[in-house]
Amino acid sequence: MQHRRKFLIPAIVLGIVFILPILVHKNGYFLHLITIVTINVILAVSLRLVLLTGHFNLGHAAFAGIGAYTSAILATKLGFPFIVDLLAAGVFASVIACLLGFAILRLRGIYFALATFTFASLTRLVIIYWDSLTGGPAGIRDIPFPNLFGFEVVTRLGLAYLGLFLAAACLSIIYLIENSRIGKTFKAISQAPDLGESVGVNVTGYNILAFAVASFFAGIAGGYYSHYITYISADRFEVFMSVFILIYNIVGGEASILGPIVGTIFMTLLNEPFRGYTQYEMVFFSISLMVCILLLPDGLISIPRRIFPYMIRFVKACGVH
């Protein structure tokens, strides 16, 4: 009974999420929104793995960019099938992350943040500069839509569902990693790296593992993005995108994997009333970010815990009369 109840709420939520595209299937814009939110959720949740090890990564979008370009180049220049593209995007992003990780993962705090920030800027510049491969500032056009076992997914509904399935797969793997022994080690080395080292934990190895796995999923998200939008340029992976992914994590809360999911959905939907008024959109976004940080230091997911005592008091007060 206990066991069944534990899975009841996630099952209901998952059910609603998977019915949602059908409910809005007439509105192409909502389907687009769902797909974009899904991709952002994969990015935000994958960044969580790096945050768990205590590293403040300000350049996560670079790996999404590397993944997007890898899959776009493989698809347009070499004609690789979609699944291979997507995996190659993830693998290539994590290879780059490993190489970078060896160099910078012993840094902490502000040094790591600035190193990743710099790496993201450098990646963007290299993409612009290397135009024989990446198309330079013009980007890559006419990337084919995802092709699954001979079926080309071209409708927005199909693309939204493909994105949701991809996100479900990625999120489940990340959830399993986080709750495994490896995930617990990540948390441990974030709190006491020196202690971990002294009891024989390979701190650098685990740091690189977290960084590489996070970048793998970022690469996959980027790869799917390029096949979904069918056109990419370096501007899509600018520095602000990394900042947004980070903001989703902080606003949502860092205590559980729900944090980045809630944060991404909340911050994206918050902007919807301002659609078309781009200048107001960003002002509102940043003000709400500030308010969240100042008033909810533990993120949006701490709201239920915060208001629960008041609710109990309210219920008791009602019961007395």
């Binding site: 403040f56 710099t118 500069y129 903001i247 959109e281 940043s286 500030m290």
Partner: protein, 289 residues
Amino acid sequence: MEYSTFLAQNLLIALSLSGIYILIGVGVTLIFGIMHIANFAHGEFLMLGAFATYYFCVELFHLPYGFASLLSAFSVAMISLIVFRVIFQPLQGKFRATVTAALGLLLLLQSAGFLVFGIQEKSVPSPFPGTIRFGSMILPKERLMVIVAAFLLILGLLVFVRYTKPGRAMRAIEQNSSAAELMGVDVTGISRLGFIIGCTLAAIAGSLIAPLFLVEPSMGLIVVVKGFTIVILGGIGSVAGAIVGGLILGFMESFITLYFDSTLANIICWSLIIFVIVVKPTGLFGHAT
């Protein structure tokens, strides 16, 4: 033109660029050294300073340039005081929250800048038009103004940090904040002062470049990136490091741009930063914390 003249002229232009960079870098390093705030919004204070100068000079009162820059420095100091009280003081000591808040402030000031000032690029008329002939060199007067002003401000800051009581308190906090507090240093007050000084220096840098470059709301982002580059080169928290870092960056960027192109200059700068962070994270003058 002789090659040596050409070179000397470019050296001077590089020096004026370095002056601006040092003003920014010193502010970033001061704020980080004292409060451990990575002020990603630092460039936005430069943007505000430049726009305030533009408004006082051109749109509102037609004030003379010098007076307008003073007034703009004062206004930005007030804004930075508010920012410190509302955002950074409540979050003191929380690394992730302050970095995210600073990034949020960057987004807020930049987007509010677009909203209030518009996307049209503005320009401030030069207070010192014309050039000076110096031997065979032809030097624009406004560049010389930047060099002189930056030099005086940096000298003033060095004297302040070295010889005055608040300056000494700043160095004490930078070395050991809790020991300084035990010795009776008002850590919050001195932090507030450091934050205001850093932001005001950025605002003055904004006033200085307003006649040289176009003023636009997104100018702050590139500036803060340069600021952090300088600080990493010189060592986070070190004023001397920021000065040397600013000189290195200013000269490197000017000359690579002169002989190759600006994208390559940026790529080389970024690679250099990653190299410095990896090989010697404390930079040229920093010490381990």
